[in-house]
Subunit: 331 residues, 2 copies
């Protein structure tokens, strides 16, 4: 296979001001790597882009039924949410159903990603709590999983905890790698995160997508929750939410920190993993859309409806359009 390339340029006027290299791997559930750009074996931390795998052990163990969780609450378990009021309420609801207090959350506090919500909190003199962490839904789900299995909740974020061990082996199984080969780092929210080659992540996503076509499977339940309630997966004016709202269940997408993205197209049995080499979100978002379009998973019309993410304008402080972002992609 001839190596492709994916370059995201930030233009000011007609001049390239800054440039991002993006590595892309696209796998088919049965055929393996079917398309790539840059280095499809690029090795980096998967961060929040694999939250659908992190919640899988909980779903497969019947956690949804055990706690009477709603589909919205499951979507929040896969979220890097914006800390809007409905996100925080759903995270609190999961904890209440598990009969655990907010103090059990291991993630640290930060202001909501949703700017108006953050400013309203500052104006009201409120201090953000752990519940506002963009990962609080995932953490609430993990705590519920511990409660269900009668595992100690204290320290659930530690690599040696049975929950994290189960998540690690789940990831390894879906990505067909040796669990002992995955290098471990500490994620922004305190959980273990793993360094994996993009093509292995893409293969995991492809198999997850393929199994998601089988009603009643864990992946089907998770993908249905994400695509039916995409506002719980990210939030207002966020790519994952707007993309999954538009495509109505045809695909799932999940952002991770430092320019990582995972996506899957169940009916095509395709999985995608990409990473902006320098960690820039402003490169990962247009790259994901360009990849989906080139794979015919998005129509040209749909791509143009996502223009504010695919080809965002650069505004200056005078609100003048002074440039734009463009993506060059070849497989």
């Amino acid at each position: 296979m001839i190596p492709g390339r994916c370059v995201v340029d930030v233009m000011r006027g007609d001049v390239v001001e800054s440039s991002h290299q993006v590595h892309v791997a696209v796998c088919h559930a049965e055929e393996g790597l079917v398309a790539s750009a840059g280095n499809p074996a690029h090795h980096s931390f998967v961060r929040s882009a694999i939250k659908m795998f992190q919640v899988l052990p909980f779903v497969e163990a019947g956690g949804m039924g055990h706690f009477q969780l709603t589909s919205e609450e499951l979507a929040l378990c896969t979220a890097s949410h914006s800390g809007e009021l409905f996100h925080v309420a759903a995270a609190r609801s999961i904890l209440a159903k598990a009969k655990v207090g907010e103090g059990a959350l291991a993630c640290g506090p930060h202001l909501p990603l949703h700017e108006p919500t953050a400013q309203a909190m500052i104006a009201a003199g409120e201090t953000p709590g752990r519940i506002h962490n963009n990962c609080s839904g995932k953490h609430a789900g993990m705590i519920a999983c511990c409660v269900q299995h009668q595992w100690v909740t204290n320290g659930y974020q530690r690599p040696a905890h049975p929950l994290q061990q189960r998540i690690r082996s789940t990831l390894a199984r879906w990505m067909r790698i040796d669990a002992d080969d995955m290098e471990v780092g500490v994620d922004g929210c305190g959980l273990p995160t793993f360094a994996v080659a993009l093509d292995a992540v893409a293969e995991g996503c492809a198999r997850f997508a393929a199994v998601a076509t089988q009603d009643g499977s864990g992946p089907a339940t998770i993908v249905q929750a994400m695509t039916s309630h995409p506002e719980f997966v990210a939030g207002t004016n966020r790519l994952d939410t707007d993309l999954m709202s538009m495509t109505k269940g045809r695909l799932f997408a999940k952002v991770g920190a430092e320019g990582f993205y995972c996506a899957g197209v169940p009916t095509m049995k395709l999985g995608i993993a990409l990473k902006a080499e320098d960690g820039a979100k402003r490169a990962a978002e247009p790259a994901l859309l360009a990849v989906l379009h080139l794979l015919d998973a998005l129509t040209t019309d749909e791509l143009s409806r996502m223009a504010k993410y695919a080809e965002p304008e650069i505004l200056n402080t005078r609100q003048e359009v002074v440039g734009r972002v463009r993506t060059q992609l070849e497989f």
Copy 2:
């Protein structure tokens, strides 16, 4: 000359999570290019990194004496300031001395870069004005320059205005390039910005640094203002301020948006221009310090005193150290 390299890695644990390529040109005032990394002819917008050249026509025309500007106010004219109270007060003072209102500023409003100041404004229900723009000092100086020359102040930010024409020819003269060859873009604050090769910018900085050793020259007045009042050039917990405070007049440094940096070492007649290819400030700052250290413009002890910029720790939301930034530089 064998091409060198400058790579800034963002490590999570022991794994490289993200990587930045940085292009560097180092020139001597008489000898031209003396060291480089990446592509020393890399072409990009100089943005705010050349503010000392933008204020030079004003200083050389006697603007300081004409308006009885203080050295602190001149430093603010070269600043990308943090919008702290003393910055805003100094910008207002320049405008008052020029007998012009804040409405004359062409830069757009944004919240102060200094987070506590921004949060205090939000908490008090205050809306940011043009005076809070990080470039308001430069703009105030430009307006004063127009008043002095009896040029119309309205539209002073337009490329065809006599002030911008004079700044353009000043830049071209110091950088030894043809003014007509410089591609123009619109900067974040609405002023023209120019796309120039790094080695030309570095040569301009080297000549500026060399002339700054001659007391009474325009560059000497500007460098003395920047290095005597570095808190006016950036602000609290900003690299330019802390670096120039520590080095007590031995060098000047000025950040620009999108990972651009200029610096000069007068006694060594050296000028430095660098650009993180992807526009990342988190790469440009450690790269600048590594370059200054390799040039012996910073001692190892001084580099270690700048560790929070040279090798910053990565904290997660739990305030745990989960990684760090490292720079690999070879000329």
